[in-house]
């Protein structure tokens, strides 16, 4: 029995040692995924629309003794990916929508066990929807700074999970401040393109008419000397309360094959 008491600290020491030495050289890859969406934008419609798109993405990951660096960009764009109509519970549809999510995070290990991380994340989330039957459109573009807390769970010598919670702190929230799309706005948009939409942005602190939170689970597995498998599932939620409320719940799932440099 006494032997087991000795085994416990030994195992804990081994795990800590493994964690401390878990270094993943820079790897980069492309991938695909599923982005499950549920959105209700009261400025455009009282109906909740849900469905999914099939994004393509790129990512880069580097882990050293102290830091985790991770970059990811996911695109659901009608021209290059499949996006299926978002449907309401009364069978109305949003046929044309675009979603782009770009993020970079830098996490530094904290605490004595070297399995916990704290860091920052720079994010840019864009979600555009055309309510074509209503001659209208709506969008949110949120460029923000998040604080992230992550916890690494070692699964084997070659794989680990990274659980993560991300709380936005401040963001430039871009959403038209009025309810309607008058001719002045439309003329500006058609003449100057999407750049004209930047004028509708405003700086917001989290909980100031804008609430957001994210949970992510990242799975990493080394499958050969040069190739890594990386997959990620998240639950992202935001609510923006101007000019009227928009709620968006996202479950992005992505899977990448990364080449290790």
């Amino acid at each position: 029995m006494k032997q087991y008491y000795l085994l416990g600290p030994f195992l804990l020491y081994s795990v800590l040692l493994l964690a401390q030495n878990k270094v993943v050289p820079f790897s980069m890859g492309i991938g695909v995924g599923v982005d499950i969406i549920s959105i209700k934008d009261n400025a455009a419609s009282p109906l909740n629309y849900s469905g999914f798109g099939l994004p393509i993405g790129v990512n880069g990951l580097k882990i050293n003794k102290k830091w985790i660096h991770h970059f990811e960009a996911l695109f659901v764009i009608p021209a290059i990916t499949n996006n299926y109509p978002l449907t309401s519970n009364v069978n109305t549809q949003l046929n044309s929508w675009t979603k782009v999510n770009v993020s970079y995070q830098a996490l530094r290990c904290i605490g004595s066990d070297s399995l916990s991380y704290l860091g920052v994340q720079l994010k840019s989330d864009f979600f555009y929807r055309e309510y074509d039957f209503l001659d209208g459109m709506s969008w949110e573009l949120v460029n923000g700074l998040n604080i992230n807390f992550a916890r690494k769970i070692l699964l084997s010598d070659n794989s680990f999970l990274l659980t993560q919670i991300s709380i936005p702190i401040v963001a430039y929230v871009n959403r038209k401040s009025s309810l309607t799309f008058d001719e002045i706005f439309l003329d500006d948009f058609y003449n100057n393109g999407p750049l004209s939409l930047f004028k509708y942005g405003t700086w917001k602190l989290n909980f100031d008419k804008w609430i957001a939170v994210e949970f992510n689970l990242l799975f990493h597995k080394k499958i050969s000397n040069r190739l890594n498998l990386l997959s990620k599932i998240g639950i992202n939620y935001y609510a923006i309360h101007f000019p009227e409320k928009v709620y968006n719940l996202n479950i992005p799932i992505s899977c990448y094959l990364n080449y290790q440099f």
Partner: protein
Amino acid sequence: MLSKLSILISGILFLGCQSNNLEYSKKEAFDDLTQSVSRYSASIDSRGINWDSLVEHYDSRVFEDLSEKEFFELIKDLLLEFRDPHVHLISSFDTMYSIDFLEYSRNNDELVTSQYISNLVTHSATIKSGYINDSLGYLFCSDFKGDLNNNNEIYESIISKFSETKGLILDFRVNDGGSVYNAQNLLNKFTAQTTLWHTTQNRNLNGFDDKYEWYLDPDPIIFYPNKIVVLNGRYTISAGERFAIGAKILNNIEIVGDTTSNTQGSVMGREMINGWKYNLTFEKCLDPNGINYGGKGIPPDHLINSNNAIINNQDIVLEKAIELLN
């Protein structure tokens, strides 16, 4: 671990893709509609509508056991209280266009009018031009829709062609609107100096936003200096009516025919929680003197009642315009 994850993902996918039934609460649908209209409509005050009283009246007739058809009729009647041609209601089984319920008469007949026109040229699906008695130009636009640059080139070529005419007739009796910028581009060819045209204000949650001033600026390429007569009627709608506001303030233009429809502001679409679509006017439009023609329409300078517009194969409105220009 991975198998649990795949079960979770499958469940999420199922939830994300499932289609629900079409059951909804008619009371909730009614409440959402009436609240949306009170938030977004720019015409409640200008049309003298006592919205709260109307809502109360119609609310007492909303029951969950109404059939879809009965509920549609109820919502239709409520929206028709606006008497606004911009207001539509569209469901999968029925449609309502307010203009069809306003008892307006058309004051044109293209076949009859065509007898007066020579060398008729079709420039686009909605723009035609020709001559009357070889001395007057005739321009017909059934709307102001379409690409701004293309339309402007068409307007330029037509006005250029008519440079030697002694007068111009603009037939907008069935012009049902489109882009106000097309109307502006055409009006700019008839003004020699910058002129305040009208103002607009968008409805917002706190009332209306600041006034936006629209100006007519002389077209840098072409100017038509002679007399112009615009033909209007009750089917002259929206941007067609904004053109009429411009015609009212330019000294070289007179309007003949009937009062325009009654809705000048821009239109927005919404949907009800049962999926039915509806439109309403969200923009208040005032002439340079602050007059709101919403609900009334822009009166002509020379009134010819629509019922007397086409008599014995004669276009009385067009003939009046010819008389004024001769």
